[in-house]
């Protein structure tokens, strides 16, 4: 008997990408077992499920890519598998765009009629499967150009499908055309609220973080206070702010308490990461800097700040993604963020209106996340950059 036989067995098994295979199965089962498109006569009535074939040729490439991804996850190995999986994820998402566009334009051809095509559970599942496949393919750091290219391809295919016209018959975009004015107002308010709060959090948080790295009691107070605020649910925090604001003669609803709440939430990541960034600076670099005649301020500017900045930007990134989400809740105290659409949609039981609020919030968060990651890489000196393999 070969002595190495028992050890080679589990290793061979572990080279099958189980995560990728599961993701492919999710996408496949969503496409073939569940309704991908739902036709509805208007916003309120419940719709009728439509067969996959309504999506035209793209429906079948969707299935092909899902089956292909499953085969790739089982049969291929290493770097080429990651590439193939990423390609399949792109294929699924692009096919889905065209299938939806085709289905929408053939099921509800008249732009004037209130009939609409909703994105069905199967389509959401296919998207989730493709996303999981995407992460399976990029678990080990691959080159960024492949990922950026893949993301651009997905975005381009959705935009092209939209330009072709079919997507505008989708229920979510029907809602958009009805609400376009309010929608953009709300996006604007949403971004303004997030921007102002983040600006304040940075203006307050960075000096507080610097002070925390120098003075023990400031650190204890600021980090535990900011940590405590994080544990309060957002709706409860808005409620808790009413009393102190009233005592100051200020309104308990409207933008002011909203900005205060968002700023308070954004503080912890900013303060903590500034503090961590400064304390992880090598003590011998500080000793050398002082010993060579740098003043405390020069040391902060030339040594500590450049070394801490990547972590500070990371903190701002976390705070941004968080406040983009929490800003939706601020709609409850009468600020017109994207949350208003969600609340209205819940009130009318109009799923599409909810989506019109929720999907842009997700997109904003994803774009802000990617943008701030890119900025973080840009301001990190090559001498301290963590190389992607």
């Amino acid at each position: 008997m070969e002595p190495e036989a028992p050890t080679s067995e589990p290793r061979a098994a572990s080279t099958v990408d189980r995560v990728g295979a599961a993701a492919a199965l999710i996408a496949l089962s969503g496409a073939v077992l569940l309704p991908v498109y739902v036709l509805r006569a208007n916003r309120i009535v419940s719709g009728t499920d439509q067969p996959l074939a309504v999506g035209g040729p793209a429906a079948w490439t969707l299935v092909l890519f899902a089956v292909g991804a499953f085969a790739v996850a089982l049969l291929m190995r290493g770097r080429s598998r990651e590439r193939a999986e990423l390609a399949c994820a792109v294929g699924i998402l692009a096919s889905l765009a065209w299938a939806l566009a085709h289905a929408a334009s053939s099921l509800a051809p008249d732009p004037a009629s209130p009939a609409r095509v909703s994105i069905g559970l199967g389509a959401w599942l296919a998207m989730a499967g493709a996303a999981a496949l995407w992460f399976a393919a990029t678990r080990t750091p691959t080159d960024r150009t492949a990922r950026t290219g893949a993301a651009a391809l997905v975005a381009a295919s959705w935009l092209a499908a939209g330009a072709w016209g079919g997507l505008s018959r989708l229920s979510i975009l029907r809602e958009y055309t009805l609400q376009a004015n309010t929608f953009w107002n709300e996006v604007g308010t949403h971004l303004a609220l997030v921007g102002i709060s983040l600006g304040l959090a940075v203006i307050i948080g960075v000096p507080l973080g610097i002070l925390s790295s120098r003075v023990r009691w400031v650190r204890t107070v600021s980090l535990s206070a900011a940590g405590l605020i994080q544990t309060v649910p957002s709706l409860a925090l808005l409620g808790l702010l009413v009393l102190p604001l009233a005592a100051l003669g200020l309104p308990g609803i409207g933008p002011l308490p909203g900005i205060i709440a968002l700023t308070l939430y954004a503080l912890l990541p900013v303060v903590r990461n500034t503090y961590l960034g400064l304390t992880q600076v090598d003590a011998s670099a500080i000793d050398a800097g002082l010993g060579m005649g740098m003043t405390r301020l020069q040391l902060l500017r030339d040594v500590e700040a450049p070394l801490a900045l990547p972590l500070v930007v990371e903190g701002v990134r976390i705070a941004t993604v968080m406040t983009i989400g929490i800003a939706a809740v601020v709609a409850f105290i009468g600020v017109g963020t994207l949350g208003v659409l969600i609340i209205q949609g819940l009130g009318y039981q109009a799923d599409d209106l909810i989506l019109l609020g929720a999907v842009p919030i997700v997109l904003l968060a994803v774009v802000a996340d990617a943008g701030l990651r890119a900025i973080g890489r840009l301001i990190t000196s090559p001498g301290i950059r963590v190389e992607a393999r």
Binding site: D282, S284, A285, I286, D287, A288, G289, L290, G291, M292, G293, M294, T295, Q298, D302, V303, P306, L307, S381, P382, G383, I384
Partner: protein, 380 residues
């Protein structure tokens, strides 16, 4: 150049430095040594005011350091530490430029100075200037640390175990380089170490400290030959005779007139050139004068074939440099089992050799402190 007058540093109940008085002359290397916790690093850090003394007075170049703003004082004192403390986000060139930049030098002058310093510490300026610290080996980082300390050409260097964090072989090389640079630049150096060999090798004077007090301040020879008390005697170690060898450079006892033969010669010519009648060995060199091995006449007596008399060696491993210490030469000889060892320059060109008998000679007829070595133990 530097004086410490009854300097004391107290941390709570503990006296880190206790009534220390010390004077270091211009161009001297003063090594502070002692067991850990003896106050040597504290002493060093008081000179550039990273630590403020509890009492006493320190002057640098005749000026009381308390009358100078600390930043200004420090920019005039080169500072190199064991952990190097290079700034990881800056290139080697930018690291070296730290103090010149603080002093407001213009770009051209800084660039020229950086190139000059990289050459001085033996790093290729083209290859190293744009590297980042994490791309350097331990020895290279230490060199950059020393270059950075020398950047603004300060008259004084403060060095806290600058070669402490590297392997023994690299340390020896760095020590030799430092000795060479110091011969060239003649800085006033305060050098902290816990390595007795390093102290003996580099110091003009050694300040041996224990529990914050100065136990003896003398030349290395003084400490070896006339220890003030049992602690000094024990600290310098039982191998004091060997330690003296650290003070003698190979080129001072080197025999430069060694017979050589070309590697392409036939055995007969070799035997002739090696003049087997009077001596046994000749070094075999190639056309460029690089040592390839040696020729042993005894092999001829056996009448063996052509190449049998030649022992081939790799000069990188089996020779020493002229600025190595006799201790290093002796230890290499013992290690390799040779009774003599070739001396070559950095590219392997034969300069001469050192024989065991030559080292013995250094003991018996060298300068007086070496001559006294054999009799010292019999003193009452």
């Amino acid at each position: 150049m530097i004086t410490l007058d009854d300097v004391t540093k107290r941390y709570g109940d503990k006296l880190a430095v206790d009534g220390l008085s010390l004077e270091v002359g211009e161009g001297e290397v003063c090594v502070l040594i002692g067991p850990s916790g003896c106050g040597k690093t504290t002493t060093l850090r008081m000179i550039n005011r990273l630590v403020e003394p509890t009492s006493g007075r320190i002057t640098v170049g005749g000026r009381d350091i308390r009358s100078v703003p600390p930043e200004e004082l420090r920019r005039g004192l080169g500072y190199a530490i064991q952990s190097v403390g290079l700034f990881p986000h800056l290139t080697v060139a930018q690291n070296i430029a730290t103090v010149p930049r603080l002093l407001g030098w213009d770009r051209g002058r800084i660039a020229a100075r950086v190139g000059e310093l990289l050459s001085l510490v033996g790093l290729d300026r083209g290859a190293y200037a744009t590297k980042y610290p994490r791309q350097l080996s331990g020895g290279e980082a230490q060199r950059v640390g020393v270059a950075r300390a020398l950047a603004a050409d300060p008259p004084i260097l403060l060095m806290d175990e600058p070669f402490g964090a590297v392997d023994p072989l690299t340390r020896e090389r760095l020590q030799a380089e430092f000795a060479r640079i110091q011969r060239e630049l003649r800085k006033t150096v305060i050098f902290v170490t816990h390595d007795v060999d390093e102290a003996i090798r580099l110091a003009d004077r050694i300040a041996l400290m224990k529990d914050g007090r100065l136990r003896q301040y003398d030349t290395p020879e003084g400490l070896l030959d006339h220890p003030a008390d049992k602690f000094v005697h024990d600290f310098m170690g039982v191998d004091r005779a060997l330690k003296r060898l650290v003070r003698v450079r190979v080129d001072s006892v080197m025999n430069a007139a060694v017979p050589t033969i070309d590697e392409s010669s036939s055995p007969e010519v070799m035997a002739d050139r090696a003049s087997c009648a009077t001596q046994r060995f000749a070094y075999v060199i190639d056309a460029e004068g690089v040592v390839q091995g040696w020729f042993d006449c005894r092999a001829l007596e056996g009448g063996e074939q052509a190449d049998a008399g030649v022992t081939r060696i790799d000069w990188r491993e089996s020779t020493v440099r002229p600025d190595a210490s006799l201790k290093e030469a002796l230890s290499r000889m013992l290690e390799l089992g040779f009774r003599s060892i070739a001396v070559t320059d950095d590219s392997g060109h034969l300069l001469g050799d050192v024989a065991l008998s030559g080292i013995e000679g250094a003991f018996s007829e060298g300068d007086s402190h070496i001559a006294s070595a054999g009799t010292e133990e019999q003193r009452p």
